[in-house]
């Protein structure tokens, strides 16, 4: 296998794996705080039992997330030494802040997970807050660094040597805010619907208890709150991409030609050979209107750059469509829940609804992965948009194919081990 492709696949695998655990690492502490807070307020022991069981699941997910995160910090150097050698300092500030946040998370995770019987209930509950706050902070810092790769700024090069950098300016690049918000809400969707999905499945299998209903409600509420907000943040992120990364925007919309009154395409298969997107339902002027607020606005197409500067359009477009489709599906669940709450003053309990929620859990995770494909594959052939190509960043060490094969095997073991551990916890 070509070394560049092997390195990219290894990065995609390890990042795609880690991001799911990171989402639970962000979302579960919040659910834990709510559950334990309910126990402190009502004295209902069911809530405490729920929090204790979730804390064991959190221990497993956090540990796997921590080691897979360590892998990423090494891989940046092992796979992309030339990128890090030049631009590492520009990204140093967010990564150092992230390391501090992760430290706080790890310290308080130890306190929270092992401190159930060593602290007063109230002190124990309070020790969960730093975990939740640091988890969100980690996301902010890491995504900021990724946003910089999309909108690099705040540095001066002389030849290919970095001679000055403004780390704060680099952190506050135009992609940071929309990407951070989009990622945190995605974590809420993945964790919320993931949790709800597990308990919905259990109820469909005929198990039922007040605790399980509590659990499903908490997960569902988290997902349902995030779904409409995610629609708004997605629109914000897309308009940012249209402004700052017109080529990526054209790829995700399958827009080959630069044109005024560009149509919004639903579905469709882009064909880079003939430079057309076929079989799409087109809404005339829709894309111009969505991106620029004016149905007659000119949208730049892929034809603005030579073919060698374009990302693989079919992958990016399909991933984008998948993400949007899943987002709309989750939004529909939110609407269903909202209508039921307004009408009957309770959450929907019907079997079709439970089935829908069961499906929503895995779909939310797939949507998350699709979103990362959009932003990462959509930036190709660049690792730092407009500044360094991915192929110029990759290591020239031999045997990347072997390391990819090893990574596939190791992550398969991690996945299996996580599933076994979680299943065991669920049965206890």
């Amino acid at each position: 296998m070509e070394p560049l492709l092997a390195a990219r696949l290894q990065m995609a695998l390890t990042l795609g794996f880690h991001i799911v655990f990171a989402c639970f690492g962000m979302g579960l502490p919040i659910l834990l705080l709510v559950a334990e807070g309910r126990y402190l307020k009502t004295g209902d022991a069911e809530w405490r039992t729920l929090a204790r069981r979730w804390s064991s699941a959190f221990a497993v997910l956090f540990a796997v997330g921590a080691v897979s995160g360590t892998v990423l910090s090494f891989e940046m150097g092992l796979l992309w030494p030339r990128f890090m050698g030049t631009y590492g300092p520009v990204l140093g500030l967010p990564f150092t802040l992230e390391a501090i946040a992760f430290f706080v998370e790890a310290i308080f995770a130890g306190i929270y997970l092992y401190g159930w019987d060593r602290m007063s209930p109230r002190a124990h509950w309070l020790s969960g807050f730093p975990i939740a706050i640091a988890g969100l902070a980690s996301a902010v810092f890491v995504v900021t660094a990724n946003a910089w790769m999309n909108c690099p700024r705040g540095f001066t090069l002389q030849g290919d040597k970095l001679i000055a950098a403004e780390p704060i300016k680099a952190m506050l690049n135009p992609a940071s805010a929309p990407q951070v918000v989009h990622m945190i809400l995605a974590a809420g969707l993945v964790c919320g619907f993931g949790v709800a999905s597990v308990y919905a499945a259990a109820r469909l299998l005929g198990k039922d208890s007040p605790r399980m209903r509590h659990a499903m409600t908490l997960g569902l509420v988290m997902g349902v709150i995030c779904a409409p907000l995610q629609a708004v943040s997605g629109d914000w992120a897309a308009r940012m991409v249209a402004q700052t990364q017109p080529v990526k925007f054209a790829a995700l919309e399958g827009q080959f030609k630069t044109e005024a009154r560009a149509p919004l395409r639903i579905g469709g298969i882009p064909d880079p050979e003939s430079e057309t997107t076929r079989y799409a339902i087109e809404i005339p002027g829709g894309l111009s209107w969505l991106a620029f607020g004016d149905a007659d606005h000119v949208v730049k197409g892929l034809d603005q750059v030579p073919k060698s500067d374009r990302p693989p359009v079919p992958i990016v477009h399909l991933a984008f469509q998948a993400m949007i489709g899943i987002g709309l599906f989750l939004l529909a669940i939110a609407a269903w829940t909202g209508v039921s709450l307004a009408w009957r003053r309770r959450l929907p309990q019907s079997r079709p609804f439970l089935w829908t929620v069961v499906v929503a859990g895995p779909l939310a995770a797939i949507g998350l992965e699709a979103g990362w494909v959009v932003t990462e594959v959509g930036r190709q052939p660049w690792i730092a948009q407009g500044w360094m190509r991915t192929r110029d960043a990759v290591t020239n060490a031999p045997g990347i194919g072997w390391s990819l094969a090893a990574a596939v095997a190791i992550y398969a073991i991690l996945t299996a081990g996580t599933i076994v551990a979680l299943r065991h916890l669920a049965r206890k």
């Binding site: 150097g77 890090m84 995770a109 065991h424």
Partner: protein, 336 residues
Amino acid sequence: MEPDLILLGVMLIGLTLYSLLGGADFGAGVWEFNTALRAPEKEQALIYRAIGPVWEANHVWLIFVVVGLFAGFPGAFSAIFRALWVPLLLALVGIVFRGVGFIFRTYASGISEKYMWGAVFAFASTGAPFFLGASLGAILSGELEFTDDGGFAGDYLTGWISSMSVFSAFFGVGVCAFLAAVYLTREAHLAGDGALCKKWRTRAMASGLWMGVLAIVGLGLMAAEVPYLWEGFKTRAWPLIGGSVAAGCFSLWALRRGRFTGATVGAALAVASVVLGGGVALYPALVPPAITVESARAPRDVLWALVACVVLGVAILTPSMIYLLRLFKGKKPAAA
């Protein structure tokens, strides 16, 4: 004070703390081999209770050092991660399986599954410090050379192997085992388990003596094979080496006299002095012979921003860390 010096100092302290805290976690896994991976339930319980609350935090130090290196000294970072492609990948595999081995064992459902993940934990706990030690040794050896465009001039598969790197690999595993044995002697004592305490005390003293022998061999090897480093030790780092010898001897004496907190402090100081001494002897080189602090460092404004981050980090992390350690490592650990 120059920002690059401050940052280097902080990273060296980070590396030291990683050796003292993360190293002891590795060491606990190394000892599982001593019982052919079938340690009595009580013995394993002590290990797992000791590591449980703190291992996540103990291992963040490594990430801290890695991030500091690429942010502050990108030239050294990209050189190290190219030249040490093989040992760092292997160390990474060890780090991954050490972490998941521990957590999957904790939540394993059956006896055989427990043993399987316990074995994974033991092998990985040994492999990680072995290859991290080898990596440090390869850097110290002064044999890593680079081309003008920054590529590794040696062989990617075997270029990292030298007498120094092989020695450091074994030294690294030994340090971990020694620290773990001393710490666990204290924990067994605090838990009031006399038999277990005695067992760990014997292990601690045996590994301590062995480490003393190994350290002498190491100094000899350095004098013969790595002259520039030997020079650094002779001119600058000798007080630290002297301190290490003294602290190591004190630790053994305290173990004999049953003063386990003193022994813990002595062992930690002995290991810390070795790490700090290595750093002091290496300076101003980062990856000798060619890559130095000056050639590898980031622009000044970045370095200052990182120093500011470190100050913030110390302010937040110190009280948190103290709280964690007081809760779980204080005078009275919980019965179970």
